[in-house]
Symmetry: D2
Subunit: 352 residues, 4 copies
Amino acid sequence: MNMNVKRIDYFNYLHLNELLNAQFPKSSIHDEMLFIITHQVYELWFKQILFEIDAVSLLLAQDELLDTDIFKVVSGLQRIIKIQKLMIDQIKILETMTPMDFLEFRDLLGTASGFESHQFRLLEAKLGVKYEMSSPFISRLSEPHQRLIAEALSQSSLLTLIERWLSRTPFLSIDDFTFWADYQAEIQVRHEQERLKINTNEWLSPQEKLSSMQQLQSVEEHFNVLFDSTLYNELIVKGEKKLSQRATHAALLIYIYRDQPAFHLPYMLLSSLVEIDDLLSSWRYAHILMVQRMIGQRVGTGGSTGQQYLTHAMQSRKVFSDLTNLASFLIRGSQLPLPDHVKIKLGLSYVQ
Amino acid sequence: MNMNVKRIDYFNYLHLNELLNAQFPKSSIHDEMLFIITHQVYELWFKQILFEIDAVSLLLAQDELLDTDIFKVVSGLQRIIKIQKLMIDQIKILETMTPMDFLEFRDLLGTASGFESHQFRLLEAKLGVKYEMSSPFISRLSEPHQRLIAEALSQSSLLTLIERWLSRTPFLSIDDFTFWADYQAEIQVRHEQERLKINTNEWLSPQEKLSSMQQLQSVEEHFNVLFDSTLYNELIVKGEKKLSQRATHAALLIYIYRDQPAFHLPYMLLSSLVEIDDLLSSWRYAHILMVQRMIGQRVGTGGSTGQQYLTHAMQSRKVFSDLTNLASFLIRGSQLPLPDHVKIKLGLSYVQ
Amino acid sequence: MNMNVKRIDYFNYLHLNELLNAQFPKSSIHDEMLFIITHQVYELWFKQILFEIDAVSLLLAQDELLDTDIFKVVSGLQRIIKIQKLMIDQIKILETMTPMDFLEFRDLLGTASGFESHQFRLLEAKLGVKYEMSSPFISRLSEPHQRLIAEALSQSSLLTLIERWLSRTPFLSIDDFTFWADYQAEIQVRHEQERLKINTNEWLSPQEKLSSMQQLQSVEEHFNVLFDSTLYNELIVKGEKKLSQRATHAALLIYIYRDQPAFHLPYMLLSSLVEIDDLLSSWRYAHILMVQRMIGQRVGTGGSTGQQYLTHAMQSRKVFSDLTNLASFLIRGSQLPLPDHVKIKLGLSYVQ
Amino acid sequence: MNMNVKRIDYFNYLHLNELLNAQFPKSSIHDEMLFIITHQVYELWFKQILFEIDAVSLLLAQDELLDTDIFKVVSGLQRIIKIQKLMIDQIKILETMTPMDFLEFRDLLGTASGFESHQFRLLEAKLGVKYEMSSPFISRLSEPHQRLIAEALSQSSLLTLIERWLSRTPFLSIDDFTFWADYQAEIQVRHEQERLKINTNEWLSPQEKLSSMQQLQSVEEHFNVLFDSTLYNELIVKGEKKLSQRATHAALLIYIYRDQPAFHLPYMLLSSLVEIDDLLSSWRYAHILMVQRMIGQRVGTGGSTGQQYLTHAMQSRKVFSDLTNLASFLIRGSQLPLPDHVKIKLGLSYVQ
């Protein structure tokens, strides 16, 4: 309805002249156009994801986050998730190119491949993947792109920002309520009960009793890592844990009481991060399956076969694995009820 | 393995410098970037679809098509289908923008909207949508884009090429086998049997008999259109049929005997066209639902509300509706068996 | 870890014996099995959706909803949405049956068709579709199923429950803050400014001025419906509006200030309902497209063709259209800022 | 139109009475219903997939396959693919259950889990996974289900049937045309050219020459396996190859000349098998990711963590890996042109 605004043309607004004239196949093979356009689309989506990550990180870098800030962070992450899902589906389009179609122009591309996407490495770095600059994924990039990655690595990643935000939560102790002590006590009681049940169960053979006891002990050791800061920090040094012990405690608090108003958005934030991690992993996997189908099992002096790379790609480079692994420490909120005065503090203002 | 080929850089090969620097938001609103990139991606896909349609049309424009040509046509159409599916899913990403986010920068865009995509109109024209140049969808486009549309409209559309290809099929009569006479006879026998069954069914009340007879008659009239060239051509004049009668007969032949080797690919070709039509219709529908959600029911002196437009958009502009409607004329191949010598002609060479 | 629990067998737990022996094709046609199993799967999903709707309705029927209740309602609705999406995709599986495959056993089914699913009608009734018991969709069902529908129609639908919940919101006036008066004033100011802009714009021809003025007037009439209870109630009587005026005001409040903590979940609740409505509409549409492809354009004494039915099916039976249409009344929250003391009331308790 | 057929009721036809009354949650936890219904739906789909595999296997077990048989086989496999895709998407619905929701009733289920689905193991066995009856996946099943698996393992799997069908192809030599000799000669010529190119390339340093030569040699060794039956059979004994050498040659022939009419359907058949394999692998992966999220990293005396299982699950149990790996042996059909008289034999009868 704004009458004075100059008419903006759809074509010019989107700079379609540049965009639709940026496809230069190196061969006369029909399918090369698809290869180019598909990868261009991927790069446009990467740009959008980077744009969202930057906005989310800026919000998270504040010393104090308003609830409306977390609302925006969650919206940004949810958008990234939707884009990731589309990118995974997009692989189906590349697959309409049969291996032989691809072989027709592959030689002309030299080493050009999606593994050289600097935006993808940037995205990983901004999430929290700790690349060495000497990594072959980085060192092959052009100078300016390497500088971009170096800069990203030198700044606070999303992982770091989340860890800081979790660590400074005021809710680990509210007045006389200390979540962690209560949680630890509850876990110990449950394990004690379990031990008693095994010992007094006359249906179990001595062999079964032994086995059950060993299993229980292994579970207890698993929990001990959370309780014992020395053990915990050893795992951090080994790279098996990424969040500090305090941040993990805070995350567990949020997971267990996620139905309290104060934790709605924090919970959505954390689950979104886990989903982004999973989808990134699925994307790498689907991408590799596709490459395998295209060019077969690679053999070469490099010596790494696709299978090995595949396993590697999926197991490592998970950024928020600590959050994924929280599941084994969860108990039901109803088993560790919050005091009423704490509930009020975690509730909405007008309910009071 | 080609050692002499100069290394081509992924970044330069894809012209990412141009591509990733073609986003110029008009506002400082965060969500405008998503709006731009999403639409740019749509336009890249349109370019790819146009590229495939052109290749397919070139093949179909030949006087004689080899089986390997039809193979390529089907592959091209299947690829278009995969892209269309992705484009429909992509709407979910635009929907992460809530109406209010959109309203924040909408005013700045003037009239710029996806309805101004010249590539989409070009695509429709190349498929066979018969636009008037004075249509508001066309007349708003820039001069050069109008010329592109005019040129496309002046050339043979995919619809026309398919109609010609169907019309010249040699299989409507092979030696003494004349499909159409046999089909027509079979249909008449079936209707006669049906009439007899109704008349002799003592469980039916007079009212039910009458109703059944009326229904049968209506079915017979429906078939008569196929049999009677005068009736058929009237529907062509009215725009209710788009393929010639002969082409429709050929299409029916292919549908009924689609398990014969000579008809495998022709059948896949025709079903692909129906699917492209359906997906285009779904895309228009999903797009309109999304616009409705974004800007609500439009009111204006133009007077057309979204609902009316929606209905219009889906009912009209179907290009291959004649093929979709074939379903009501199908019978089982086993009810009209092919003579053995015809089967041999429709089979593979080495089987003979 | 619970050692005393008797081992439950997966096969028995899921009652797979009954489930996997409930497929009785009427013909020896291979594809009938797919037809049966696909429809059985649809009915299992319908059962799940009904189960979720009942749980959601029970929560909403309370006089007072805790925030944790709304949290559960939103989770339930989000789950329904995911199921609906899968059901739409499932149509692709039915489509692997070509029309001729279907024709092979269709005659044996008599009138049996998905339109006779009593669970689907129950679902619609529970959402808020106001069926007459004499509607052909209902009167064809068995006695006990008709009773189920009648019972559902006699109870509060989701639409009714939502309308009541919206109507009793305390936030339309907080202390001296009266949202509706402020909103109405803001809209009037904006229209006044618009009028002035048109009148003083020397670039517009008299004809263009007239046209712009008419458009503005039409927009104002559109808004007047919201402001004027007589006009509004007339639309309710005509069935064009379904929510009361007060409920609509409350919904608009929630949409505009959805980033306030107190409105996070209410906003998610309302958007989920809109999405469920949209997906139900998409499902009906995709289902009809599929039926059309299977059996072609229907002709019969009933006289209704698929096209007409299609248009009908999508335009009517939308339950939450009032919410969808809110978009045209939205303004930015920043244009109508909340007083600080209201923000505090809408915020989290501990922030105070 | 068949007037005498007794009206069949949709409800009875689908045995909905049994189906909709087969859900017996063990707890009063809301989410258990979803758990039950989701798994019941999976089992219905498994039944459908088994039904299709049986039909496909019956066709393939014939001594001589008509082209119309292969047409049906391909249709069956394509349907399985569509179902698999839906099953993967269905995981999203299970994921609406958060870990804590699941923990609420998990203890009550004892060991009941999807890993106990006998239909899934049957499906794997029928495809060609070579289970030992003592495998924990099998030995935990009930007696009758173990017998079903044993029976399936004793019969010809899809892998075996395909291998036989490939082995008896008449096209490896047609008159004087012997594909394999020509292919082998062509590969040797190409490697010779490559060697020459490396040796005469003055831009390469000695180190680079050495490295290129080593790479070439490794490629040649890779090809030698195909050429040398002793090497090949060693890999079969080790379980690294599953198809006989002759079957692999036939598959390669089909891949390279897939645009010849005689190979259209065979090619579609082989690619469908590869896709089924890939999707099964994706399903296992997505399923495991979901389980990990639900119950976290498992620790126990069993000692196997989810990560290890994950890697195992995806690397092993691929049935048609030989076909997937063909990609690395492909050359373009244009580089090894077929003699005209062979083309005619591979063509359609009427073209002759």
